[in-house]
Symmetry: C2
């Protein structure tokens, strides 16, 4: 069952994707209510691509699908946290395991 | 050194806050370039509160400060991942350890 979520003015909600096994944060992308519905129904993550303005089943071309293990929303219902089994171990389009490979040095 | 980041049309960038020790995703909040600068300079997370429209040093009133351990930005430079030592162990204003305590049942 989908809870009442707070989508932004474009109808989007950010979804943090975390590796269910080791806890690595793999990426963040945006869902609208339909892509969230697709994600829940199929058990694989679906997003709304802001740059391409279309639905995007993660890994559809690369094969690096994300099998949903658990889904959460936060205390003010405006962010999702989705724990996944990252097929192929690679989440980033650069070929990196995680999208967060750039460190900010202080 | 602060890299070139892609802020949204409101000048904000989402920051995922992760427990540096156990990998739990604690919360997500938004920074602008000044709050990012404050975060880097002080070593404690600072955000821009969208609801209150003001700077917000996390834990300033509760004492639940977040000591920055590592900072990353993602492949397209529009999301931050900040690993912290969560002082007091509580990140959420509800008193919960993490803001992501609501599970979506499928």
């Amino acid at each position: 069952m989908i809870p009442e979520l707070k989508y932004d003015e474009k109808g989007l909600i950010p979804a943090i994707i975390q590796d269910a096994e080791n806890g690595d944060v793999l990426m963040m992308a945006y869902m609208n209510s339909s892509s969230l519905q697709m994600t829940i129904e199929t058990g694989y993550t679906h997003f709304w691509s802001r740059s391409r303005q279309k639905y995007w089943k993660k890994g559809e071309s690369s094969g690096h699908l994300q099998e949903v293990k658990e889904m959460y929303y936060d205390c003010d219902a405006d962010t999702l946290l989705i724990k996944v089994n990252q097929i192929g171990g690679i989440a980033c389009h650069t070929g990196s395991r995680s999208c967060f490979f750039n460190k900010i040095e202080r």
